[in-house]
C-alpha cells in the first residue's frame, strides 16, 4: 500500500504545531497502525529528520498508552485501540490525518504525545479502596452478587487511554471518571469510600479543566473497551446520592 500521511508535528509544549505531509510506500495490510508509523520513523531517521513522537507500550490493546486521532476518530475507524488497528482498514492511496488527543487537560508534549497525568490525579483523588495489605483474603469472605460482579468488570475494563476525552466536543472526562466510580462503588470492597470517592473524583475532574457532559454520546462510541454511555448517568446518580448523604 502507498499512503499519504498528514501528521501533527509540534516541537514541544510551547511551540506552534502544524500538519506535515509524508508519503509512505510498501505498507502491508497486515501491519498495525503503529508499525506503519514505525516504518515512517525509520525512513525519517535515515534521512536525518526528527521521527514522529507517539505514545505506545504494550501494543496488545490493554495498557491504554496509544492515543491517536485518525481521520477525526479517536483510535481510528475500528472500535479498538490504535495498536490493534490494522492497515487493512485503509485503502491503497488513502490520505490519513493523524492528530493528538485534543483537550485543555491533555496538553501536547511533542507531536502526537499528550500529557495525561490529569487522569492519574483523578484516580489519586478516589480511584482506590481501603484494603488491608498482606496475604490475599479468603475469596468467599466478601460475597459479591453476580450482576454486581459483571457490572464492576464491565467498568473495570477501562484502560484510561483518554479516547473519551479526545472524542468529546467538550473535552469531558465523565466517561472515564464514571467507569472508575461505578467499578469500585458497586463492590463491597469499595463501599467505605462510596460517597467520598464520587465527590472527590468529580471535584478533581472539574479542577483539571475537563468539560461537562452534554450527552452527545461521542465518548462511548470512541471507547475501545465499550464503556457504555449510561455509566455517566449512573455516576450522576451516585454523585447526587453522595451529596445528600454527606451533607446530612
Amino acid at each position: 500500500m502507498k499512503l499519504t500521511l498528514r501528521v501533527w508535528r509540534q516541537q514541544n509544549a510551547d511551540a506552534e504545531g502544524a500538519m506535515s505531509t509524508y508519503e509512505v510506500d510498501n505498507i502491508s495490510s497486515d501491519m498495525s497502525f503503529l508499525e506503519m508509523l514505525d516504518t515512517l520513523n525509520e525512513e525519517l531517521i535515515v534521512k536525518g529528520d526528527d521521527p514522529v513522537a507517539f505514545d505506545h507500550d504494550c501494543r496488545e490493546g490493554i495498557c491504554g498508552a496509544c492515543s491517536l486521532v485518525i481521520n477525526g476518530d479517536a483510535h481510528g475507524p475500528e472500535r479498538t485501540t490504535t495498536c490493534q488497528l490494522h492497515m487493512r482498514s485503509f485503502k491503497d492511496g488513502d490520505t490519513i490525518d493523524v492528530e493528538p488527543w485534543r483537550a485543555a487537560a491533555f496538553p501536547v508534549v511533542k507531536d502526537l504525545v499528550v500529557d495525561r497525568s490529569s487522569f492519574d490525579r483523578i484516580i489519586q483523588s478516589g480511584g482506590y479502596i481501603s484494603a488491608p495489605t498482606g496475604a490475599a483474603p479468603e475469596a468467599h469472605a466478601a460475597p459479591v452478587p453476580k450482576p454486581d460482579a459483571d457490572y464492576a468488570f464491565e467498568h473495570a475494563e477501562c484502560i484510561g487511554c483518554g479516547a473519551c476525552v479526545a472524542a468529546c466536543p467538550n473535552g469531558s472526562a465523565m466517561l472515564f471518571t464514571s467507569a472508575k466510580v461505578n467499578h469500585l462503588g458497586v463492590l463491597p470492597q469499595g463501599a467505605p469510600e462510596r460517597e467520598t470517592r464520587v465527590l472527590d473524583m468529580v471535584a478533581q475532574m472539574d479542577e483539571e479543566g475537563f468539560g461537562g457532559c452534554t450527552l452527545t454520546g461521542e465518548c462511548a462510541t470512541a471507547c475501545p473497551k465499550g464503556i457504555p454511555l449510561p455509566s455517566i448517568s449512573a455516576m450522576n446518580k451516585e454523585w447526587l446520592r453522595a451529596t445528600r448523604k454527606v451533607s446530612r
Binding site: 468529580v202 452534554t214 450522576n236 454523585w239
Partner: protein, 223 residues
C-alpha cells in the same frame, strides 16, 4: 450543600435539568391551554380569566398566576446562567480543534446553545406581544386572547417568529429532556431506548400542539 451543587459541573447540570423540567411542565400546560382556541372565543377568554382566579378564595385575584410567573423567571434565569457557565467551561476544555472534523452529533445536540438563545429572545418578544401588548400588531385587549392571537398570526412576521421558535423548542426539548433524565440519574442500558422515544415524542407533540395555532389562523380555521 448548595455550594457543592453550584460549584460542581455535575451539580450545575442538575440545576439545568430541574429548571428545564419545570419549564417543560409549564409548556405542556401552556400548549394544552392554547388548544382551547379551537372551541371558540368564549371558551378561550373564559380560560384566560380562570387563570387569574385559580386558588380563590385562598389566593387573591392573579396571585397563583404571579406565583407561576415568579417560579418561571427563577427557572429561566437558573437555566440560562448554568448553561452559560457550563458552556464556557466546555469551550475552554477544548481550545484546539481537530483539523479533520467529524460531524457525528445530531442536529438537536449541535444546536442546543443557539436554540437556547433563540428561545430566550423569543420569550421576550412573546411576552411583549401577547402579555403586555407592547409590540402587538393591532389593538391589544387585555383578557381577550382570542382576538389578540388572531391579530398576531395575521402578520407574516408574527407567524415566522413563532414557528421558528417553536421548531427550535422541539429540537431543544428533544435533546434536553433526554439529557435531563441522564443528568438526574435515570439513564440505564435497559431504559435508554424508552427515554429517547419519550423525549422525541414529547418534543414532537409539543411542537405540533403549538404550531397548529398559527397554522389554523393562517388557513382560516380559526378567525
Amino acid at each position: 450543600m448548595t455550594r457543592t451543587i453550584w460549584d460542581s459541573s455535575v451539580g450545575k447540570k442538575t440545576v439545568m435539568a430541574v429548571s428545564g423540567l419545570i419549564m417543560l411542565l409549564y409548556l405542556i400546560a401552556h400548549m394544552i391551554g392554547n388548544l382551547k382556541i379551537f372551541f371558540g372565543p368564549a371558551e378561550l377568554n373564559h380560560y384566560a380569566h380562570w387563570l387569574r382566579t385559580v386558588g380563590e378564595p385562598f389566593m387573591h385575584y392573579e396571585w397563583t398566576l404571579w406565583l407561576i410567573r415568579v417560579v418561571l423567571v427563577v427557572a429561566v434565569v437558573a437555566h440560562a446562567v448554568s448553561a452559560y457557565q457550563l458552556s464556557r467551561r466546555d469551550i475552554r476544555a477544548r481550545p484546539a480543534k481537530y483539523v479533520n472534523k467529524k460531524a457525528g452529533k445530531s442536529f438537536a445536540t449541535r444546536t442546543m446553545r443557539w436554540g437556547g438563545i433563540i428561545l430566550g429572545l423569543f420569550i421576550v418578544w412573546h411576552i411583549l406581544d401577547l402579555t403586555t401588548g407592547t409590540v402587538h400588531p393591532g389593538g391589544y385587549e387585555h383578557l381577550h386572547p382570542y382576538q389578540n392571537i388572531i391579530d398576531t398570526f395575521s402578520t407574516w412576521y408574527g407567524n415566522v417568529i413563532y414557528i421558528v421558535a417553536v421548531v427550535a423548542l422541539g429540537f431543544h426539548v428533544r435533546h434536553g429532556l433526554w439529557s435531563a433524565a441522564q443528568t438526574l440519574g435515570a439513564g440505564k442500558a435497559t431504559r435508554d431506548r424508552a427515554l429517547k422515544i419519550i423525549a422525541n415524542g414529547v418534543a414532537f407533540l409539543l411542537t405540533a400542539g403549538f404550531v397548529v395555532v398559527p397554522v389554523a389562523v393562517m388557513t382560516g380555521v380559526v378567525s
